[in-house]
Amino acid sequence: MRVALAEDGALFREGLLMLLRAAGHQVVCSAAGGDELVALLATAPADVAILDIRMPPEPDGGLITAERLRAAHPDLGLLFLSHYAESHYLMRILEIGTESIGYRLKEKVGSVEVLTDTLNRIGNGEIVIEPVLAKRLVERTRGDKKDVVSALSDREQEVLRLMAEGRSNNGIAGQLYITPKAVEKHVANIFVKLGLHTDTAAHHRRVLAVLTYLRSQRNES
């Protein structure tokens, strides 16, 4: 895969460069800031851009850069890396786009397999959400929703967590060593129990429905 990279921490940037190359990806350009990356990408086409959220232009240059890149190269996948997995940033990221987009913790992409899986899923148009954050969202549901989520079977809770990570039915099947048909059944059950009515066939709409359910709370302004 052709990858572009912007990260202001030299140590992390160099490490990621080496890991990307070891994984067989082609790094078409790398930069210490967003503006530089936008300029480089004008002449060097890439499949996915990896962006640090907290980099120049300050304070959250990764987000501003992503907006510019989405406008200039609509097919370019975007992977945000951050030291923090915050639902606040997840929502801002999903405002930039709901296809071919991902958000992961910096220390969680440190293996060839995970890095390649993340990039491939983004390349395939999926939303990729840091599992640490997806798990937290599932565990932090409150009030009526907490009761609903805890009434799901253990397997259904696992499937819900993987849906919140943005995984497709095939992806979930691969993670849980069950058939896609079985996943479909679990997903349908979960949607009935949560009272969600959405077109589960459209991947990004399903992820958004699940995230909105997990994040919304009574009383929220």
Partner: protein, 211 residues
């Protein structure tokens, strides 16, 4: 009811320059806390994250048949993630990064979700400077932490009134006003309490001078 103001503990009114110096000292402390948090992020945390990448590279170069070694490297990476989680915990106690980067609205919403407090948070996009924002954040956090296990829904409102951050905390109990006062007073702020009425819960209102 006025809980505190610019009054000196000994009863007299502090000399204005002394009060100003005291306030600046406390403002500087908030700046130092923010700086420490940023230092953790840009220094130790980034170094450890980079280390996980180097371990990943090592894992890639190790022979695929070396299962024990492969697993061991994976365990080391998990351990580094745990170290970073602890550093994040420390950073949040020094000065929450989300507060620094995104302001009181997002930071308080994240806090409410973390502590599972049913609370409506009404804020504006205004920024108030690291001292006033830090004081307001930790005042709310201390009120949340001191609440009973099954709390009634509360409400937190943040707005600007001229050169002050106005913080209203509704429904956490007037007894917590002292906690808010501890954070507001060093910056020259004041705290008032509107007692509970048949029409509504008690409200703690803090006025904190800001940028």
């Amino acid at each position: 009811m006025m809980v505190s103001g610019f009054g000196h503990p000994n009863g007299g009114v502090m000399d204005e320059s002394v009060a100003g110096m005291c306030r600046r000292k406390h403002q500087d402390q908030w700046l130092r806390r923010r700086l420490l948090q940023r230092q953790l992020h840009d220094g130790a945390a980034l170094r450890i994250s980079a280390l996980t990448l180097r371990l990943g590279l090592l894992q890639h170069h190790a022979a695929p048949t070396e299962h024990a070694l492969q697993d061991y490297i994976g365990e080391l990476q998990d351990e580094l993630h745990a170290v970073l989680e602890e550093l994040r915990d420390v950073a949040a106690k020094i000065y929450p990064p989300l507060l620094d980067e995104a302001g009181l609205g997002p930071a308080l919403r994240e806090l409410a979700a973390e502590l599972r407090v049913p609370v409506a948070i009404v804020t504006c996009d205004d920024r108030f400077g690291p001292a006033a924002e830090g004081a307001a954040y930790f005042a709310v956090m201390r009120c949340f932490a001191a609440r009973p296990a099954e709390p009634k829904p509360a409400k937190v409102v943040v707005r600007r009134e001229n050169d002050a951050l106005m913080l209203s905390i509704v429904g956490v109990g007037a007894a917590h006003a002292e906690l808010v006062d501890d954070e507001a007073k060093p910056l020259g702020g004041t705290v008032e309490v509107e007692p509970e009425t048949p029409l509504g819960a008690s409200t703690i209102i803090a006025r904190i001078p800001c940028e």
